[in-house]
């Protein structure tokens, strides 16, 4: 028996077309499915810009007397950000509960952020003091523009999360020592001369 016939015996014409047909059909289904899934991921978003001008640092009242920090809520509704001023400078905290994404409220008398959905409590630094939140509130980038006003970046690239460091395995509800060195320095903290 010559080689050609042997091949034909192993892979008959019927078998070849069977495999080719099913391969084509499955490829069609697979690529249509992938295209259908891709359809649900929009390429253009009409969401609010991730940066905004928060005005001059002087617009924010400094803490007086026993106060350690003054939390300003003027941007909470439109930008979802609190601008907080302490004795050393200004920082921006994202008003997004790290548990499941509700908007916490600021209670100046208790010096705490409290989430209405599941009761997470945060201190002014954003650290979790009670409730189910797994990590501190995110920090937004805050930088000075040439005209002296502050540009706050709240988008994916602007925020600082406690667990962004790849080397850290467990989530912390408090800022670690290494993280503190990052969040209390530019661009997450704007130092003001007293």
């Amino acid at each position: 028996m010559d080689k050609e016939n042997e091949f034909e015996k192993r892979v008959s014409r019927r078998k070849f077309f069977n495999i080719a047909g099913w391969t084509g059909f499955c490829t069609f289904l697979g690529s249509s499915g992938a295209a259908g899934a891709r359809f649900f991921y929009p390429k253009v978003l009409y969401e609010p810009a991730s940066t905004f001008n928060a005005g001059k640092p002087e617009d924010y009242t400094a803490p007086t007397g026993n106060e350690q920090v003054v939390v300003d809520e003027r941007w909470k509704k439109s930008q979802r950000v609190w601008i907080a001023r302490n004795r050393e400078g200004i920082y921006a905290t994202v008003a997004l509960c790290t548990h499941l994404g509700c908007t916490p409220n600021w209670f100046p008398a208790e010096v705490r952020f409290k989430c209405p959905c599941h009761g997470s409590n945060f201190n002014p630094d954003g650290e979790v003091v009670a409730g189910p939140a797994p990590e501190p509130l995110y920090r937004a980038k805050i930088e000075l523009a040439p005209d002296g006003s502050m540009i706050v970046t709240t988008g994916l690239l602007g925020i600082r999360r406690a667990n962004l460091q790849a080397q850290k395995k467990t989530l912390g509800t408090f800022w670690t020592k290494e993280e503190k060195e990052i969040i209390w320095k530019p661009p997450y903290f704007l130092e003001l001369k007293a």
Binding site: Y46, C102, L156
Partner: protein, 269 residues
Amino acid sequence: MAVNFNKQNDVSFIPSFFKKISEYIKSTTVWKSIFRVGYPDTMPKRMAVMRSSFYMHIFPTKVGIHGMKLKYGWCMGGITFFLFLLLSITGVILMFYYIPEEHRAYNDMKDLRYMVPYGVVLRNMHRWGAHGMVFTIILHMIRVFYTGSYKPPRQFNWIIGVLLLTITLLLSFTGYLLPWDQLGFWAVTVGTNMASSTPLIGYEGPFSKYLGIQIDNDIRFALIGGTRIGPNALIRAYVWHCIGLPLIATALMVFHFWRVRKDGFSGPM
């Protein structure tokens, strides 16, 4: 004296004139083409009625008397199907007034409650019907479990039923966002954020960072069409709620009922 059961000698109070008309109507082609079997006075004829009628053919041709008892089946599957029909009808009517747009949705819902004639009735039928459907489908599942109706040969129908339960819950979830009020908005915020913790395809889930999954390409992004709940999320919830999920539910229901018809009602306990 023997009692005569002969129909001819029965005393009838219907005038013979009407009898003649009725006999004529029953002899016409139109009548015969609609009612094909005739008076179902024998078992084969009764089964033929069930087989040949569109409305009856979703039932098995023959059902044991135990299966008809209310205390056995609770009629919960039937009530769930009835509520699905009710929700489809009231939902379509609500669609005439509701616009799924950021600035209109909440006001349209309020208009339905206070301005649209009978709008409050329709909206409440839809709302309470939806709550009821979740309730009855769970009772139906409990009944099926306690009567052992999930056992062979009905295992596959149990799976279809679980899928239908999931679809019902998803319908409930997507419908919750549509009033665009604080309750629905935050419920959907929380609910879709849970999806971001899915392994591999959620940006906060395990192993996802090895696939390069971020907030703008994970499963939550596909669900709400953005990185935050906004107009995209509203229109997606609307389309899934009004078209996508009901179509899937209908297809699964057809299958569910067809299997009930083929397997018959489950036996007595």
